[in-house]
Symmetry: C2
Subunit: 176 residues, 2 copies
Amino acid sequence: MRVLGIDPGLTRCGVGVVEGMPGRPGKLIGYTVVRSDPDEDISQRLLHLDRTLATLVEQYQPESVAVERVFSQHNARTVMGTAQASGVAILAGARAGLPVQTYTPSEVKAAVTGSGTADKAQVTAMVTRLLKLSAPPKPADAADAIAIAICHIWRGGTRSLLQAAAVAAAARRSSR
Amino acid sequence: MRVLGIDPGLTRCGVGVVEGMPGRPGKLIGYTVVRSDPDEDISQRLLHLDRTLATLVEQYQPESVAVERVFSQHNARTVMGTAQASGVAILAGARAGLPVQTYTPSEVKAAVTGSGTADKAQVTAMVTRLLKLSAPPKPADAADAIAIAICHIWRGGTRSLLQAAAVAAAARRSSR
């Protein structure tokens, strides 16, 4: 399963692509940070993000997209821009015909560190370890996006296995 | 000047198209409300909004797009969805190569009623009067979008006139 994870943001939007299966070490395929200038017009910033994400989806051909959910408790000054960027990020997956899942920051942290309240350094350290990287991803903003992709593989994967098991069980029952 | 105004929302997104010039009565070209089901997946809802807005821009051929700005003080339960919808709305204009302006709710209210704290009924009444409509727009959600378009014509128009005047003044100075 190849997943493109997105940590939405207007000034910096992290993108990480991971291939893997639940319970096995994943493989980092690529990552980047999409940037835009805070002094630029909001419409041009969103357009740049939209175009770059479309190019990355085309380039990496993921099977699904995972986006971190934005909460209003976040930094109030930037939260609206982050939410607008998350709308564009979710749309990028949907427009490519891919399933899109969203995860809360604590779901992502818990998936990679075991704790929903882990800090940024811990997330980066675990991403580096889980994917057997020789060094932490740089820029650090990308680590969160990679963690989101890992979270989706583990959780989404588990979900897929459970669904498959339920379907198999139903088939067994009906064939008796 | 033909303007497509958007009052962003996920469940109901108002769209109003007005043609006019500052200080003259405008003409209502069309309006609609784009709806999506709150039970549906967020990615499908944003995709539906994106596609419908692209169709409306294509259909009405506006010269610019005006979008109401979203604030975090709004209803906290729905504000993130509204912000995501506003990102998609701004993007719809940018992707069509159109200039996009955003206006605060009080700028819009002040432009049509003279008061930044006017209520919804007052805005609807003034939109009906300013555009010489025989009845208030239905559904009422569209009235705000029409008001945003009127606001842009009046304010954006004034801005264009000021810019043109400044350019003309500079030309006169340099030709002396």
